[in-house]
């Protein structure tokens, strides 16, 4: 089984010489010397690469919306979204800390494809180690001429900057990120216009997840067909899956897309700890709907998980066991989402704190009749399209599914006027 993304991962990060020794920057050389930007876009399209940040949008298609040619607004920007703050997700951190040059090379190739001359790595504030390693790697890449003017003797120039975020979940939302990078409040922007036409400082911009960008050099090196064969489903490539919760071996592993959920939980995470039983899984981070125990044979790829009623998201799952109160877990999650709401649109700003307070009061035994209906109403009215961005719809995905899956548990909280797990 090939693991292109993680094969060179090292706990102390390989330096540039070592990276080059194992084939680093070969893809950049190949793309800049042998391919036209359109060829790269076409290759990535054929590879079937989909965004690894959670939405799963086809990467090549995203790039093809960028206006190309000499008479378009410039500079164009490429941004690596390294503001990994989804509860339960830590996959990008592995890539950033363990192989920073892989991301830089991915950005050079991707920037070349969309003719972007300026790039930013928008990094989560808490990722201090990654920040140090990226800063060093960037310096090395500049010194070796992989970044800057006329890279490797080509006509292509690319300046890449590291920007450490101010530390809010909203900064990781594609357009909130753009505002944050501009020094404004991290509130989202409405789409259309899409960042590809009016993004950072009003210029064409592509924002891409770290893992997505890290795939690009390997596609260039080995081709689209190779990439497709890596997966166990229609969608190409591998995916870093993570598992947290009361499993024996919490962690993250690069596995073929389409690996069944149960196999990840049992073979890689080692199954549940002794004495606890699995009740459900949030398959792709905190803002995806629960999959019940009987749904765990679902293949972990974008379309399959969607068919099962949830989302692949970041592919980093959280396991809920029978010794943990689902209401308490939700209260914890919703506290996070309510706190991280930017305060721009009404439903999210006002709705999520209300949800959180109801869940808290249920946990404290002060739930009241009608609370479940209020939660249900929020599940509906904080849905996609009704709020300004995807934060609140994501926040209510676990809530909505929990109200179905764990309805009895909610009712017990109200009936017994206490949390049965406490």
């Amino acid at each position: 089984m090939e693991r292109p993304l993680t094969k060179n991962l090292r706990s102390d990060a390989p330096d540039l010489a070592e990276t080059e020794r194992v084939g680093g920057y070969q893809a950049a050389r190949k793309a800049l010397r042998e391919m036209r930007p359109a060829d790269v876009i076409d290759l990535v399209k054929r590879s079937g690469l989909r965004g690894r940040g959670g939405a799963g949008f086809p990467t090549g298609a995203k790039w093809s919306f960028v206006p190309m040619g000499s008479d378009v607004p410039h500079p164009k920007y490429l941004i690596a979204n390294a503001d990994e703050m989804e509860p339960g997700s830590f996959k990008d951190r592995l890539l950033l800390e363990g192989d920073p040059h892989q991301l830089i090379e991915g950005m050079i190739v991707s920037a070349y494809a969309i003719e972007a001359n300026v790039g930013y790595i928008f990094l989560r504030w808490e990722y201090r180690v990654a920040a140090q390693r990226l800063a060093l790697a960037l310096r090395q890449a500049y010194e070796r001429g992989y970044l800057g003017r006329y890279i490797m003797g080509s006509g292509f120039s690319f300046d890449l900057h590291l920007h450490v975020s101010a530390g809010r979940y909203m900064c990781g939302e594609e357009t909130g990120l753009l505002n944050s990078l501009e020094g404004k409040r991290a509130v989202p922007r409405s789409k259309p216009p899409f960042p590809q036409s009016s993004g950072l400082w009003g210029k064409p911009t592509v924002v891409q997840n770290v893992e997505t960008l890290c795939n690009v050099p390997h596609i260039v090196n080995h081709g689209a067909d190779w990439f497709r064969t890596l997966s166990l489903s229609e969608e190409g490539g591998t995916k870093i899956f993570g598992v947290s919760g009361k499993v024996r071996r919490p962690g993250a592993w690069e596995l073929p897309l389409g690996t069944p959920c149960r196999r990840i939980l049992e073979e890689h995470a080692g199954g549940m700890k002794d004495g606890v039983r699995l009740r459900a899984v949030l398959p792709g981070g905190a803002s995806t709907a629960f999959l019940a125990e009987d749904q765990l044979d679902v293949k972990m790829d974008f379309d399959s998980v969607a068919r099962a009623g949830s989302r692949l998201g970041t592919g980093t799952m959280i396991a809920l066991d029978d010794r943990t109160c689902p209401v308490g877990m939700l209260a914890n999650l919703e506290r996070f989402f309510a706190r991280e709401s930017c305060g721009w649109c009404t439903p999210c700003r006002e709705g999520l704190p209300w949800v959180q307070r109801i869940l808290d009061s249920m946990e404290e035994g002060r739930g009241q009749p009608g609370d479940i209906e209020t939660l249900q109403r929020h599940g509906r009215f904080l849905g996609m399209g009704l709020t300004f961005c995807a934060l609140a719809p994501g926040a209510v995905e676990p809530l909505r599914s929990a109200l179905t899956l764990f309805r009895d548990d909610f009712e017990r909280h109200l009936r017994e006027k206490r949390c049965p797990w406490r």
């Binding site: 409405s190 259309p192 216009p193 009016s198 009404t346 700003r349 006002e350 307070r357 009704l386």
Partner: protein
């Protein structure tokens, strides 16, 4: 146009609008908060959700925000859809989670958009049992009260204050459900347009602090359409009173003039006109005779009797001096009384020559007088000499929008709808201009200027002339002039609707001529260039149109009696000259509502009505005649000046006028008459339908309800009875509609422009050919230009208590080098002899001043100094 289907009915709408705007234009009720007609959409509040259907087979549909959805041809939506209604009620429920239930003690109550929208969505029962959040409220200065707990986070305040008006000391802080709108710390809001927050805020976070001192609910106020009397722009306002006291001023939409916004001088400068009626003892609003004190208790007609005694016994020469702050009607009446040959316009001689030059340029030259709307839409602007924020404040707000035009054009072509404010601003970033500002000192618009240049007025004129020459070689060249701002002529030439802004404040004839040359040169190049001249007072343009002799000539004229109309001559000419004149004339009769140095020298003072106590017409800087209407019922002996004069005519055996329409008929200008409909037909009530206490208000005097006071001067009635729904814009006293108690009801009314333009351009294109010599500094002397202050320079507003609190101490601005040569620093004082009087001024350092130039605050005593002029200064 686009055809859209709303709840099964087909409508024709403007396809360039969003669905919310389209629905409101159709007078359909759809609740909203964050959208604003002048500020567009951002999609924050989610209140205007409607259900959209793909086609007529789609029955499921999906909820969309109307404000973020284009009113494209073929769009099918439902406002009444149950899910849409439930969602909208839910949005109100969320907004109400933290909103205090303090409506009974809230100044916004009864005109609160949040109340209206809450009722409209049907949300009534509170289901949330958790505590509400509370905030610290800030002291924001004398204009606004801040009550953050009421905030529903629609973001309109910060969008207006920062994005629209360019303010920097107000922002949004915090996140999630702890978002705060205010300043970083307590303190006076710096923006000259802060008062608009009162109307922009959909609830009671920002309320009018001046209103709070004499608070009355909107429904209990009696309103009249008015025209702001505090500068030459003629913004349209609604003024309100109760119990004979003027209570507040609100904006009245005139799309071609002020649109949705006023400046703070216009909004808060009214209180002087209120104090007059509030405290008649202090203000002595009775005829006053310096020879016979007993007369002060007599009624109006005895004042006229005194007057006729004067004139009757004299058979002498009678002259009249008009006023640029009195109505057309009053000026005309005085002109009629004294005869054209004995009527003097009442402007200072310098202003008179400047304004008549402006009039000549606008009437005979090819460039139009620009309205504020024209300015807003200009795609290149050249400001010559004017500090507009202080001379014509609302114009500065329009100019701030004009700098976006060029970028808007590009963005519109790129497919972003222009109502999509957030996207437009993201695409625009800080791209602005072209706006070139050439003034003697820094202005508040410099932050959006493409380039600024500081020079003495003569050099500014040379710049203007040189630019005109560069645009069109036919215009005179300026020899030896080095262009300080490159590409300026190109930028103006590249524009389609360039505008040149100039005015009287520098007191420079060559400057005004230069402005005309630039606009005419652009016209010759086929550009639709307009001119925007600012003038000092609300009827300066009208006074100039009416004509009359120079004030200097009046001072020389043989006269036994002079009638001075609403004018303080000490602000128009040197004190010695005025003293000499008033001392020489046997009988000085002054009609005024202000106590001035002139009234103190008068033999007879007749109490004239303020803008709130009378109806009449003023002509703004654009030459637009607009009618203002009386809101305070008449109270003896106060009368409109033209009525006093009419009684004088009658007393002299001539024919007077019984109503405003009769004066207008006598004036014989059909266009001025057409500024508003005559007093005919069904009366329009000044009072809202919910006006309370009508039968009880005067019960302590008589239990019989008195008939409403008659109003022969307008089609309005001092009553709640009458017919109002389709009142034309010039006659709309207030915006109110069933279910829409707030000023947001404006969209239910006709949105056409009002007022009649009296000046249209001519064909003459001959350039002014005189080129002034370069400004030469003198040793020991400074060319002192007037420095205008939004709060303090204008005579009537300067006395309003809230404005007084914002006024600055008058200073003399010097270059730091000049100050140190004189041995003074900031806060030190200099003195100079002027008009045989020694003046002492506190020094302010302004490094940007050109060499040899100083600036003197134009307020109070400095108005008669005759600025600009040379002054020899020394340390005091």
């Amino acid at each position: 146009m686009a055809r859209v289907v709303i709840d099964g009915k087909s409508y024709e709408v403007d396809g360039r609008r969003n669905l919310l705007h389209a629905c409101l234009s159709l007078k359909l009720d759809l609740p909203y908060f964050c959208w604003h007609p002048a500020m567009g959409s951002v999609g924050a509040c989610r209140q205007c959700a409607v259900k959209q259907f793909k086609d007529d087979r789609d029955t499921a549909g999906r909820l969309v925000m109307a404000c973020m959805t284009p009113a494209a041809d073929g769009t099918r939506i439902s406002i009444d859809d149950p899910e849409a209604k439930a969602f909208r009620a839910s949005v109100i429920e969320w907004l109400m989670l933290n909103h205090p239930h303090d409506c009974p003690v809230c100044d916004e109550g009864g005109e609160c958009h949040l109340q209206d929208m809450t009722v409209m969505t049907g949300h009534v029962v509170r289901r949330n049992r958790f505590p509400k959040r509370t905030y610290h409220n800030q002291d924001l200065g004398p204009f606004l009260t801040h009550e953050m707990n009421r905030c529903i986070q629609c973001y309109r305040c910060v969008r207006f204050y920062r994005d629209y008006a360019g303010g920097r000391d107000f922002d949004v802080f915090g996140a999630h459900d702890q978002v705060y709108f205010g300043r970083a710390e307590d303190g006076v809001l710096e923006s000259e347009f802060s008062g608009n927050l009162v109307e922009v805020c959909p609830t009671g976070v920002f309320t009018d602090k001046t209103l709070a001192r004499h608070y009355t609910r909107k429904w209990d106020l009696q309103w009249a359409p008015s025209i702001c009397a505090h500068c030459g722009l003629g913004c349209n306002t609604s003024v309100a009173e109760r119990g004979g006291m003027l209570r507040r001023v609100m904006n009245r939409v005139n799309p071609e003039v002020n649109g949705h916004f006023l400046c703070d001088r216009g909004r808060f400068g009214y209180e002087r006109a209120q104090r007059v009626t509030e405290d008649p003892e202090k203000e002595k609003r009775t005829p006053e005779d310096s020879e016979k004190k007993g007369l002060s208790e007599s009624s109006g007609s005895s004042g006229v009797k005194r007057f006729s005694e004067f004139s009757g016994s004299l058979c002498g020469l009678l002259i009249g001096i008009g006023s640029p702050r009195a109505s057309m009607e009053s000026n005309f009446a005085l002109q009629t009384l004294v005869g054209k040959d004995h009527f003097y316009s009442g402007l200072s001689d310098l202003d008179a020559s400047l304004v008549s030059l402006i009039l000549d340029i606008l009437r005979n030259g090819p460039a139009r007088a620009a309205s504020l709307q024209d300015v807003e839409n200009a795609d290149a602007v050249f400001i010559l000499g004017e500090d507009v924020t202080n001379t014509a404040p609302r114009l500065a707000l329009s100019l701030r929008q004009s700098v976006r035009q060029k970028a808007l054009e590009r963005i519109g072509k790129g497919g972003i709808p222009l109502w999509h404010d957030a996207a437009v601003r993201e695409a625009m970033q800080d791209e602005h201009g072209p706006l070139f500002i050439a003034t003697p000192y820094a202005t508040r618009l410099d932050d959006v200027a493409t380039a600024v240049w500081r020079a003495a007025p003569d050099d500014l004129a040379r710049l203007g002339l040189a630019v005109a020459h560069e645009i069109d070689a036919e215009a005179p060249a300026v020899s030896g002039f080095r262009m300080p701002m490159n590409s300026m002529a190109d930028a103006l030439r590249d524009a389609r609707r360039p505008i040149v802004v100039c005015g009287t404040s520098c007191g420079s004839v060559p400057l005004i001529q230069a402005a005309a040359n630039v606009a005419w040169a652009l016209r010759r190049q086929g550009r639709a260039a307009d001119l925007c001249f600012t003038v000092p007072e609300c009827n300066t343009m009208g006074a100039a149109l009416l004509g009359g002799g120079r004030l200097g000539a009046a001072f020389e004229a043989e006269a036994d009696t002079v009638i001075i109309l609403e004018n303080d001559l000490y602000g128009r000419a040197g004190a010695a000259q005025v003293d000499g004149f008033l001392g020489r004339v046997k009988h000085v009769v002054v009609l005024d509502h202000l106590r001035t140095r002139t009234t103190s020298k008068a033999h007879l003072v007749l109490p004239a009505a303020t803008f709130a106590e009378s109806s009449g017409t003023t002509v703004n800087n654009e030459g637009r005649a607009q009618r203002f209407f009386q809101v305070l019922p008449s109270r003896e002996p106060v009368m409109a000046s033209w009525r006093w004069i009419s009684e004088m005519l009658v007393a002299a055996g001539r024919t007077g006028w019984a109503s405003l329409d009769e004066v207008l008929a006598a004036m014989g200008d059909a266009r001025i008459r057409a500024a508003a409909p005559p007093a005919a037909g069904q009366r329009i009530p000044r009072r809202p339908p919910r006006y309370s206490g009508r039968t009880a208000m005067a019960a302590h005097v008589s239990v019989h309800e008195a008939p409403p006071p008659p109003d022969p001067d307008s089609p309005l009635a001092f009553s709640m009875e009458g017919f109002s729904p389709e009142a034309p814009p010039p006659l709309t006293p207030f915006f109110w509609w069933p279910g829409w108690n707030s000023i947001q009801a404006a969209h239910k009314f006709a949105d056409g422009p009002s007022g009649v333009r009296l000046i249209e351009p001519g064909q003459r294109g001959a350039f002014f050919r005189e080129v002034p010599a370069p400004f030469t500094p003198r040793r020991g002397e400074w060319w002192v230009v007037p420095v205008h202050h939004i709060f303090g320079t204008e005579e009537q507003s300067a006395m309003a208590p809230a404005i007084v609190k914002r006024s600055v101490e008058p200073t003399l601005a010097l270059r730091p080098e000049d100050a140190s040569d004189l041995g003074v620093s900031t806060g030190g004082a200099v003195q100079c002899m002027l008009d045989e009087r020694t003046y002492r001024f506190r020094v302010q350092l302004r490094p940007e001043l050109p060499v040899g130039v100083a600036g003197l605050s134009l307020m109070g005593a400095t108005k008669g100094v005759g600025l600009p002029c040379w002054m020899a200064l020394r340390r005091a």
